[in-house]
């Protein structure tokens, strides 16, 4: 077995053109992750620029309304740029700079990762190009303009299904075209090694903080932590420091779109099978010939046919559980959280909020649930209005 394995998953299934670059990246990461000055620089950026640590907020009204376990929200939506994506991007952009790269490229689905990458590029003085499915540029037009304001060039991707997976394809193609000065800031815990490990490490700040915060606040660990899963970066970050706490249940909420029994979903664990794609072995939504399936979710950020290899492994060994949440359910949770707690969360995060709404009432009052609120929902307001039949133009 090659490097970067999580059970049978992971690996480095990429064209030869990229292999030396990936090897250099791994070496650089292994060096800098233990380098005190790199870590000091990253810590400063996370604190002074991104606004960490993020709050662990006790959702008291929601808790009372649901009438079961205490619900805490890990407020990644309050980070600069409005989502957890900045944690990974600052780490990778800083690393790229140390490696002498002058240009970063990235894929984006909902636009959150693209905005975060454009932001870091502006801050660190790097050239930035973002690849985004044409369909996503339309449903997230505001984020496109945001990236342009930040100095990035946004390329609408017209191949395939014109969504997140196609944006990844196109960014990989661009990377093989120009690696000498360019780093691909992969946005999730996916792709070839070392990306799943590196992105997880950068995102693990979420559970590192949450674990300390809950122990300080409640003097005990939660019964459950939950997060939405597309590629799975906020979930991996939310799970990581709880993996060895075997009493803590880890639940990932994947996008069931119009339902797992329709052909309009992105529920990788519910409906996917093992495969090799985008540089990794993992689970993928695909047909019997290994053709990657066109997936669907109301949430552009979860609209991905696979998941990171470490999630696939956590599923295989039964350490984490993955549950499907439909568009309808996510929209219900989106509106519920706004009404109940005055928080408009990302439609991605609303998938996890829904599962908390469903499970917290069945739990004991002295139990605790932590939900990762991966992003804020400003970007989704117009789409939710349309979903409810109100035509609002951004």
């Amino acid at each position: 077995m090659s490097k970067g394995r999580y059970g049978v998953h992971g690996g480095q299934y990429i064209p030869e053109t990229l292999m030396n670059e990936i090897i250099r990246l791994e070496a650089a990461y292994e060096f800098y992750k233990n380098d005190p000055s790199f870590n000091a620089e990253l810590d400063t950026l996370l604190k002074e620029y991104a606004g960490r640590p993020s709050l662990l907020y006790y959702a008291e009204k929601m808790t009372k309304d649901l009438g079961g376990a205490k619900v805490y929200l890990k407020r990644e939506d309050l980070n600069h740029t409005g989502s957890h994506k900045i944690n990974n991007v600052l780490g990778q952009a800083l690393l790229a700079k140390k490696m002498g790269k002058t240009r970063v490229i990235a894929e984006t689905g909902a636009g959150q990762h693209g905005v975060a990458t454009a932001t870091a590029a502006a801050l660190l003085g790097m050239e930035c190009e973002i690849f985004m499915g044409k369909e996503d540029t339309e449903r997230q037009a505001l984020n496109v303009y945001r990236m342009e304001l930040l100095g990035a060039t946004v390329h609408p991707v017209t191949s395939g299904t014109m969504t997140l997976k196609d944006a990844v394809n196109e960014t990989m193609r661009e990377w093989t075209n120009r690696v000498h000065d360019t780093h691909y800031v992969l946005g999730s815990v996916m792709g070839p090694h070392p990306f799943p490990m590196m992105v997880r490490d950068f995102q693990s700040v979420i559970s590192c903080e949450a674990r300390e915060q809950i122990l300080e606040r409640e003097g005990k660990l939660p019964s459950v932590v939950m997060a939405c899963v597309g590629g799975g970066s906020n979930a991996m970050g939310m799970f990581y420091h709880f993996i060895n706490d075997t009493g803590v249940k880890l639940i990932g909420c994947e996008a069931a779109g119009r339902g797992v029994d329709t052909d309009k979903h992105a529920a990788t664990i519910a409906k996917g099978t093992p495969g090799v794609f985008h540089g990794m072995k993992s689970y993928f939504c695909q047909d019997e010939n290994g053709q990657i399936a066109p997936v669907y979710s109301i949430s552009a950020g979860l609209d991905y046919p696979g998941m990171g290899p470490e999630h696939a492994h956590l599923h295989d060994i039964g350490r984490a559980e993955y549950v499907p949440v439909t568009d309808d359910e996510a929209v219900e949770a989106f509106e519920y959280l706004a009404r109940t707690e005055g928080i408009i969360c990302a439609i991605e995060s609303a998938h996890a909020v829904y599962h908390a709404m469903k499970t917290a009432p069945k739990m004991k009052k002295d139990e605790i649930v932590i939900v990762c609120l991966s992003g804020r929902g400003d970007k989704d307001v117009a789409a939710i209005a349309r979903y409810r039949g109100r035509d609002i133009h951004e």
Partner: protein, 258 residues
């Protein structure tokens, strides 16, 4: 010696690529035979894939056409089976790993052997990962062909040392597609490869004109042309046969010319 190496026995080899099932499964068989009759020494048949990350727009489009024509993995085996009855020209698949993985390695290579396929090129299976199927492929007499890229540098020796069939030298950075100029220092890459391996080397990616092919045939044992052929199929569809034959003959002449 593998059957693939025979493609390089009668002077410089011309290697042509088509996407299997483009524009239709039946027509694909005819086009492959046209190419073989017109002098192609080895033919690559691309198994269409939904997400071909190493391909440029021309072959991406061909993948869509083939998938729309119902070209699944079984159809690829049927194409090889049909063609093999009428020609001895070595045939190799070019495929992404997932269709092979999904079919099951043992089952896949056993089918390859029974239909008479000689080799396989898997662009997303680098040296580090090939071990998971190379033994199975070998037991069914299918050569797993290795690729060397402009960025391979220190990796050239170890890749070449374990190479089977022929070595596929990727001429340029980026994806497949026609280029007006190839800037990579191919001479030094080929020299390094030849210092550790007697396997023939063929250059691909970007080659489309007889002049380019002639120039590269001075360096390598063969030239590989994909997008330029696929472009003719895109342009002429069902009637591509004559155009394809003329093109293959022209390219073959150019690489055999002194």
């Amino acid at each position: 010696m593998s059957k693939i190496q025979k493609a390089f026995e009668n002077g410089k080899a011309f290697i042509g690529f088509v996407t299997g099932g483009d524009p239709s499964i039946e027509k694909s068989c005819e086009l492959i035979l046209d190419m073989a009759e017109s002098g192609a020494d080895l033919i690559e048949i691309g198994i269409p894939f939904s997400d071909p990350i190493a391909e440029g727009p021309v072959i991406q489009e061909a993948n869509i056409r083939a998938l729309s024509a119902g070209a699944d993995t079984e159809a690829m085996f049927r194409i090889v089976e049909t063609v093999r009855k009428q020609t001895d020209t070595p045939l190799v698949f070019l495929t992404y790993l997932n269709p092979v993985f999904k079919y099951g390695y043992e089952r896949f290579f056993s089918r390859c052997e029974s239909v008479g396929l000689d080799g396989i090129i898997i662009p997303d299976l680098p040296f580090e990962e090939k071990g998971e199927l190379s033994g199975i492929a070998e037991s069914h007499h299918v050569d797993v062909i290795s690729l060397i890229a402009p960025t391979s540098a220190d990796r050239i020796r170890k890749i070449a040392a374990e190479a089977k069939g022929f070595l596929y030298i990727v001429s340029s950075m980026g994806v497949t597609g026609m280029r007006s100029e190839i800037k990579t220092d191919l001479a030094s890459i080929i020299e390094t490869a030849r210092s550790v391996s007697k396997i023939p080397v063929a250059v691909g990616f970007g080659i489309n004109t007889p002049e380019q092919a002639h120039k590269l045939s001075k360096l390598a044992d063969g030239v590989i042309v994909g997008s330029a052929i696929v472009k003719l199929i895109e342009q002429y569809g069902e009637n591509a046969g004559g155009h394809l034959s003329a093109y293959v003959r022209e390219m073959k002449d150019s690489i055999r010319a002194r």
